[in-house]
């Protein structure tokens, strides 16, 4: 659990973070979003003390991090940045093994962990283990970057716009894997982005920042249905706000038990947007719904997609 209490940071004469208080629950995927200069990166970098607050306290699991040695603090967390920063003179294996080596893990344990992570990030060990960063594509480099951050099994993962420099397809793939990794490991993730779609896709909760102040902190659904002010609305994008809403809710939330429908069923966990696309493609106004075991769970009506 990460608690920010009245945190302020000034880069004279400009205030980057202005009295921000919020709490990230343990195991939560928290996205910090905001326009440029909103202080989101600065706020995140105060968690591993790359930046030191001028005022306020940051506690991790109740402990004030100001009293800890910065290097020890950082070795307990994963850190992923936009430009990856892989060490060019080390192989992928050695890059991933960085923090375990700093912590003095035995060699065998390190090797096993590297194999585990290469598998988790879908990198073929035969091809990638002994490769050098310059031999990798941007997406592959960032996969290694994430693996490196996870190597020492940290409780907290800090990610600073990690996928912003990648092409949309690679970005999408890595986002999906990030979501899967979060689900599997339940690591607390603080994720900075300026892309609302990415935030909506990944976050358990979203913190919107503007000019250093916390504007709104809530679930994607909260943000979409009750945006706190125009800044938030602008971030969402006024035009396809409705479609974004459809992406957030699932079929299971609007399925009805009555009615009949035919054809390929749609899973209850699918987002409403996918259901709408199916309806348009088939030219029908209702779809059969199944649950995770494949048993019939009801019918989704087109009219239920639009709720007053």
């Amino acid at each position: 659990m990460i608690a920010f209490e009245g945190v302020t940071k000034r880069f004279e004469p400009w205030v980057a973070v202005d009295g921000v208080s919020l709490t990230v629950q343990a195991g939560e995927f928290c996205v910090l979003i905001g326009p440029s200069g909103s202080g989101k990166s600065t706020l995140m970098k105060m968690v591993n003390r790359l930046i030191v607050p001028d005022a306020g306290t940051i506690r991790i699991d109740g402990e004030d991090i100001a009293g800890l040695k910065p290097e020890e603090l950082r070795r307990r967390m994963g850190y992923v940045i936009q430009n990856v920063g892989l060490f060019p003179h080390w192989t992928v294996e050695r890059n991933i093994a960085t923090v375990p080596a700093l912590l003095g893990w035995p060699k065998a344990r390190v090797q096993d962990r590297v194999a585990e992570l290469l598998d988790l990030l879908k990198l073929d060990p035969r091809r990638f283990r002994d490769a050098y960063p310059h031999q990798l594509s941007g997406g592959q480099q960032q996969r290694v970057g994430v693996a490196r951050a996870l190597a020492a099994e940290p409780n907290i993962l800090l990610m600073d716009e990690p996928f912003s420099a990648l092409d949309p397809i690679t970005r999408g793939a890595l986002q999906a894997e990030m979501a899967a990794i979060h689900k599997a490991t339940r690591t607390t993730i603080v994720f900075v982005t300026h892309d609302m779609d990415e935030a909506l896709k990944l976050a358990n909760r979203i913190a919107v920042l503007d000019h250093g102040r916390l504007i709104q902190f809530g679930t994607p659904l909260d943000i979409l249905t009750n945006p706190a002010n125009d800044t938030v609305r602008d971030l969402i994008g006024r035009e396809d706000w409705g479609l974004k809403l459809l992406a957030v809710e699932t079929v299971g939330q609007r399925v009805r038990s009555d009615g009949e429908a035919f054809g390929q069923p749609v899973p209850g966990t699918a987002p409403l947007r996918q259901a709408l696309a199916e309806m348009v493609a088939r030219g029908t106004d209702r779809l059969p719904v199944v649950d995770e075991q494949g048993r019939p769970a009801g019918v989704l009506h087109l009219s239920d997609l639009v709720r007053p």
Binding site: L50, R74, Y79, N83, P88, H89, V99, L102, P133, A149
Partner: protein, 396 residues
């Protein structure tokens, strides 16, 4: 459609070298024979040298590689041709030296001991062409730098064997060596010590200065203008400038062995000159470390020292070593000038020759300096390529 004209000319560089060899062989004197050390000699063309060599078949054999060099421009390029080209260069280079030594011995048999046989312009041109041909062959084969060193080493070994066998003893330069025999080894050692002696303070001062300049904009702004000015001071002037304060210091503190003349001011001046390349390349090397890499390293929990030693140093190493190469080659050359303030070394031999107007004595001092510089350059190029391969980076 007409068939394309067959290419007879495949290699322009080889053609240039072949032309140089042919022109030198036919028009320039191969050797120069003077009745004594003072008077000018008369030129002896290559043909004359060949005619004079008693074991005629050997003489022609020594020039056979030269024929290969003349033929290569017209041969279709292939790995075999390049290998033969390289070998021909090495053998021709050694063969020319052998021929010069043989003819000098032949002439010495029938002339006064005061007579001198020196290398002529033709020899130098052909020798240079031979060495370039050897290096060009290696380059075309695309072999790593170590091979170039091996080729140079092979040529040097062949010449050294001739030296050891005493085959070259009647050449003027070796006669000068005979007079300098006792002091020559000491001069080479002294020369090396001057360079090594300057290297230590240069690294001790220059590297930390470079690290500081990389980290602090203010230091960088102060350091480079100063070092640039120092670099522009002519070496003799700097030696002279150092003499007065050092002599005063020596007078004040006699026990410390400081002096205004000799190796100490030379080492100090050499250090001053060596600082700029070292500081500049240290800064450039460190500048070349991508900021993302530094940020990731810190963010992952490396201490400042760990970031420096594990990340910055290995990444900056190739560029740094390039700077070290420049520094050392420069120092080898400058140390020769230091002889003018009594520092000794190979420069002393060169200047004795200059004062006595004995060019072969100048050569006796100059050739080892050149060889030393080439050797240092090659060794460090090897080090740079090793560093590059180990760190997976390209040098600046």
């Amino acid at each position: 459609m007409a068939a394309p004209r067959p290419t007879i000319l495949h290699n322009r560089v080889a053609l240039l070298l072949a032309a140089a060899v042919a022109a030198a062989a036919l028009t320039l004197p191969f050797l120069s024979f003077a009745p004594n050390r003072l008077l000018s000699g008369r030129g002896i063309p290559l043909a004359g040298a060949l005619a004079g060599v008693v074991d005629a078949p050997w003489g022609w054999a020594a020039l056979l590689p030269g024929a290969v060099i003349l033929a290569v421009p017209f041969l279709r390029p292939s790995r075999a041709v390049s290998a033969v080209y390289s070998a021909a260069g090495v053998l021709f280079a050694a063969g020319l030296v052998w021929l010069a030594g043989a003819h000098a011995a032949h002439l010495a048999a029938t002339s006064a001991p005061a007579a001198r046989t020196s290398f002529g312009a033709g020899f130098w041109v052909m020798e240079a062409a031979a060495l370039l041909a050897a290096m060009d062959g290696v380059r075309r084969l695309g072999l790593p730098p170590a091979w170039r060193i091996a080729v140079g080493g092979a040529t040097a070994a062949l010449v050294a064997a001739q030296l050891a066998a005493g085959h070259l003893d009647q050449l003027s330069i070796l006669k000068e060596y005979a007079n300098q025999r006792d002091v020559f080894a000491a001069a080479v050692l002294r020369h090396g010590l001057l360079v090594a002696g300057a290297l230590v303070p240069t690294l001790l001062i220059g590297v930390p200065l470079g690290v500081l300049a990389n980290r602090s904009f203010h230091v960088r702004r102060l350091v480079f203008p100063v070092l640039n000015v120092i670099q522009t001071i002519p070496s003799i002037a700097l030696f002279g400038l150092l003499m007065a304060p050092l002599s005063a210091l020596a007078g004040a503190l006699p026990g410390l062995g400081i002096s205004g003349v000799g190796p100490v001011p030379a080492v100090i001046a050499l250090t001053f000159y060596s600082l700029l390349p070292i500081v500049r390349n240290t800064v450039e090397g460190l500048d070349g470390v991508p900021p993302a890499v530094r940020e990731a390293a810190r963010g992952m929990g490396m201490t400042r020292r760990q970031v420096f030693l594990k990340v910055e140093v290995p990444l900056a190493l190739p560029v740094f070593l390039s700077g070290l190469r420049i520094t050392l080659v420069q120092a080898v050359g400058l140390a020769a000038v230091a002889a003018l303030i009594g520092a000794g070394g190979l420069g002393a031999i060169m200047f004795q020759g200059l004062f006595a107007n004995a060019l072969d004595l100048v050569l006796l001092g100059a050739v080892p300096v050149i060889l030393l510089a080439v050797a240092v350059d090659a060794a460090l190029k090897l080090a740079v390529s090793l560093a590059v391969s180990l760190t997976g980076r390209r040098a600046a």
